[in-house]
Amino acid sequence: MSYMLPHLHNGWQVDQAILSEEDRALVIRFGHDWDPTCMKMDEVLYSIAEKVKNFAVIYLVDITEVPDFNKIYELYDPCTVMFFFRNKHIMIDLGTGNNNKINWTMEDKQEMIDIVETIYRGARKGRGLVVFPKDYSTKYSY
């Protein structure tokens, strides 16, 4: 479903997207359209895009096409989802130890909506870090 979500093709577009959204949170998926992890993530993101459109907007960025952010955001995973609000990167405590991003596939749509909503509410209140109620420290179930 990557073709249904808007892509950003260069660093300037990413910057503009982050700067221009005044009211809504930004969800940016960094990865590749052909990567399986990204494909699953894009599926989830697309399914929630309509529901969260009032308070969030979702973009996809190909990290080969746009390598500008690979270093500063440490985009070394196949799929990375980061959140921004009003030109600020919003951190979210998911219990995984990395508060900057989501770098695994989130299967549950409702959880994804909840995450985006928590980000939005927290960011609106001026928080730079929000705590998400669910703990994903055990997400790797063997």
């Binding site: 969260v52 308070f55 409702q110 909503e117 509410r121 927290g122």
Partner: protein, 379 residues
């Protein structure tokens, strides 16, 4: 009294400290003129209190001009038209003094007088806190040569004031003007704002327009057109808009200056819909009394037309929660409770071990532990 040689950078400046200050040897390097660090750079607490008494007496000793080395009496008066002053402290010594630490204090000049300060009658001012000071001033002002004009001007000003509107009326006018705004709800404030704004502009641009500054930041071409608008300063509307915006910021709408006309109209419409729904439902008592609370829309499970709005998870609604005490399937659900209530209970420690709560809405089925939930986000 310890004599410290203050030097000004020449080759002689080797002997900073004399032998009669042996205790301070440890911190020779740092303690110099102007240094505030009087202590020693060691951790021994024994050394702490030894010198304090001695120091206090010598702290504010004034530096004698002879103590300063390297001063010159006079030098060439003029170097190619530039007047040269000799390198000494004579002038500074006249106007103030140095203390032993090298700090300079200017002498308080008794001769500088301020006519205005002298002529204030403080008693009169205290008696009339609400009335303007000027009245007391002008009445009491002693006329001096050169001050006559000013005093006359003031008297004229006051006569004009007395004629046009009496002071008492002015005071009373001020209060009632502010009162109506104070009693406006956010809704009414926004409504009043809309009347003053033009479509397509934000509150900030509206203020700029009413203030008459025109297109300052725009391109050169527009400047020429904008100049015609500059003189159009509508102070009354400007004041009103400023007051309204200020009230809204005070009541928590911090982004008001960036809100556009359309945005305000949209939020108004949304709120008036909610209000009409809330009223018909006898919405929660708290919200009816609290004029700044967002109205709950409880109808989204009942009324079909409103359902569309609510599906889009609007963030301005009051969020209700239900909870249960453990994770079993058939535990009893308590609720619905508002976020404020939940937050209050969490703060009191009522849910010591955490309860499992979830939002009341169609979507969520998952229960979250209240320990990790921040209800503050939803208030």
């Amino acid at each position: 009294m310890s004599k410290r040689k203050v030097t000004f950078g020449d080759g002689d400046g080797g002997e900073l400290l004399d032998e009669d200050v042996p205790k301070k040897k440890l911190c020779e390097d740092v303690v110099g003129p102007g240094s505030r660090f009087k202590g020693k750079h060691s951790l021994d607490s024994d050394e702490e209190d030894e010198e304090e008494d001695g120091d206090k007496s010598s702290k504010y000793n004034i530096l004698a001009s002879d103590d300063v080395e390297g001063q010159e009496g006079a030098t060439i008066d003029c170097d190619e038209g530039v007047p040269i002053t000799p390198f000494n402290l004579d002038e500074e010594m006249q106007e103030g003094h140095f203390d032993s630490e090298g700090n300079y204090y200017v002498k308080k000049d008794e001769e500088i007088r301020d006519n205005w300060l002298d002529n204030i009658d403080w008693v009169k001012i205290r008696e009339q806190p609400t009335k303007r000071k000027k009245k007391g001033l002008a009445a009491k002002r002693r006329r001096r040569v050169g001050d006559e004009d000013e005093a006359e001007e003031e008297k004229q000003r006051e006569e004009k004031q007395a004629d046009s509107d009496e002071e008492e009326d002015m005071e009373e006018e001020k209060e009632p003007v502010e009162d109506p705004l104070a009693s406006f709800s956010q809704h009414q404030l926004t409504e009043a704002m809309l009347e003053l704004l033009l479509p397509g502009e934000t509150v900030a641009t509206g203020l700029r327009r009413l203030g008459g500054l025109g297109g300052r930041k725009k391109g050169k071409q527009r400047e020429e057109n904008g100049k015609a608008e500059e003189t159009n300063r509508d102070t009354e509307k400007l004041d009103r808009l400023t007051a309204l915006a200020d009230r809204l910021v005070g009541s928590g709408v911090f982004e008001i200056y960036q809100q556009t006309y359309e945005k305000l109209a949209y939020t108004l419409k949304g709120k008036s819909q909610q209000q009409s729904v809330g009223r018909s439902l006898n919405g929660e008592e708290e919200d009816e009394l609290d004029m700044f609370a967002d109205k709950i829309d409880e109808k989204h499970s009942v009324k079909a037309p409103d359902k569309e709005d609510q599906d889009d998870e609007t963030v301005s609604d009051d969020v209700m929660w239900e909870y249960k005490w453990d994770t079993e399937e058939n535990s009893e659900l308590y609720g619905p409770f508002s976020s404020q209530q939940m937050q209050g209970w969490v703060d009191e420690g009522y849910f010591k071990d955490g309860v499992y709560c979830r939002r009341i809405e169609q979507g969520s089925a998952q229960f979250y532990n209240s320990k990790r939930l921040d209800f503050d986000l939803y208030t």
